[in-house]
């Protein structure tokens, strides 16, 4: 198989909704499936971004640090970066930028790797605070998140576009994380506007979904209900 066409995922989004936040794969293993990606650590501890094979965490204290290979992820994606320039973007505000990005996705039925680089007018991020057992629901963690913002910041956006159809497996639509060029700022992107940036896309034909089959809590938990709405509420 052509590995540039494969998106790897550990965990499934639906398990986060009822609070299955235990890390079940090492970052080292995740990096065997790609040099680029996003994710989170045990307890939804911060927002991971993998750039050039190195995994960074933006935590709820607003710090960025390099993550060790033995640390554990409950939910993460990786892929081998081999994307192509889709568009050069000038000064575009928040609302228009999301509409523009969506219009750049060639097929809404496929998964894409999304990367933006350059100077951003404003980036607003969030990072969830580390949760401890007994874990709350995903919705309850929303009140535990810290928000950060920066203006005129150079950096990299890494993330994915997933079809609505797979909205219980992956975050439907865009799921993007940020890391500033000086590694002083990052997180899960809530708002984004461009000054002068470039959009790169990588189309995947395969999703390799790896589930934590050896985790007892995952094996037993009932995963159902109106997940898509709950996920949308929690992700917004």
């Amino acid at each position: 198989m052509d590995r540039k066409k494969v998106l790897y995922q550990h965990g499934t989004l639906a398990m986060l909704v009822p609070g299955l936040f235990t890390g079940t794969q090492t970052v080292a293993e995740l990096l065997k499936h790609g040099d680029t990606g996003i994710g989170t650590l045990t307890g939804l501890n911060g927002e991971l971004i993998i750039v050039d094979g190195v995994c960074y965490q933006a935590n709820a204290a607003g710090q960025i640090r390099q993550v060790d290979g033995h640390e554990l992820v409950p939910f993460a994606n990786s892929h081998y970066l081999q994307d192509t320039l889709a568009s050069k973007i000038g000064a575009v505000g928040q609302d228009k930028l999301w509409t523009f990005l969506e219009a750049q996705i060639p097929s809404k039925n496929l998964f894409y790797g999304v990367r933006l680089t350059g100077t951003f007018k404003k980036v607003k991020t969030r990072a969830v605070k580390e949760q401890t057992k007994p874990f709350p629901t995903l919705k309850q963690t929303a009140s535990q998140q810290q928000e950060f913002s920066r203006e005129n910041v150079d950096g990299t956006v890494i993330g994915y576009f997933a079809p609505e159809l797979y909205g219980r497996t992956a975050v439907p639509g865009f799921h993007l994380h940020f890391l500033s060029a000086d590694h002083s700022f990052g997180g899960h992107i809530l708002e984004l506007s461009s000054t002068a940036t470039k959009l790169y896309l990588q189309e995947f034909s395969s999703l390799e979904l790896h589930l934590p089959s050896e985790n007892t809590d995952f094996r037993k938990k009932k995963l159902s209900g109106n997940l898509i709405q709950e996920i949308k509420d929690a992700e917004s």
Copy 2:
């Protein structure tokens, strides 16, 4: 990766609902990902069952034939058989058998390969008649299916259990096909009862979902709506 823990799938169930029945992968390619499986051909032409690396078709005329490697599937699964005996089953009728099978699934959050062998009291199957372009919807094909049944028949059931959560990607719950030992009878199982059979299960930790990214109709089609209900209606 341990290949016995991987379920391979070409296509996604949701695309069948609006009538995307064009074959987009050869049977030869499908067989590179497993020696056991089920599926259908272009136009939903019959019901495929792969046993010991050989692909058979049960068609709407009630015939069984061996499928050539160059024939095309719109939707199919395969895996490398390495299952274990889960249960010996005696004389168990239709209703109790399905309840029993469901109770044998160790985790409702994982995908399983399912195989039954032995003597079946009764097997009722269906095979969809080949549809031609412009393809109807999946629901409309239900009136085009032929049903067959056999009593006291020796044979093999091959198929899968998929979590409800992935009900737009795979058939939720059990999706089983049958092939009689004398290769004279088969199809998609509608009813099943046991005289003396054995159940074998194979637990998967990964789903490798391969989408027909080069098919223009697939790329463009809007896949949404209340798919799960439509799929249930069409599959029942």
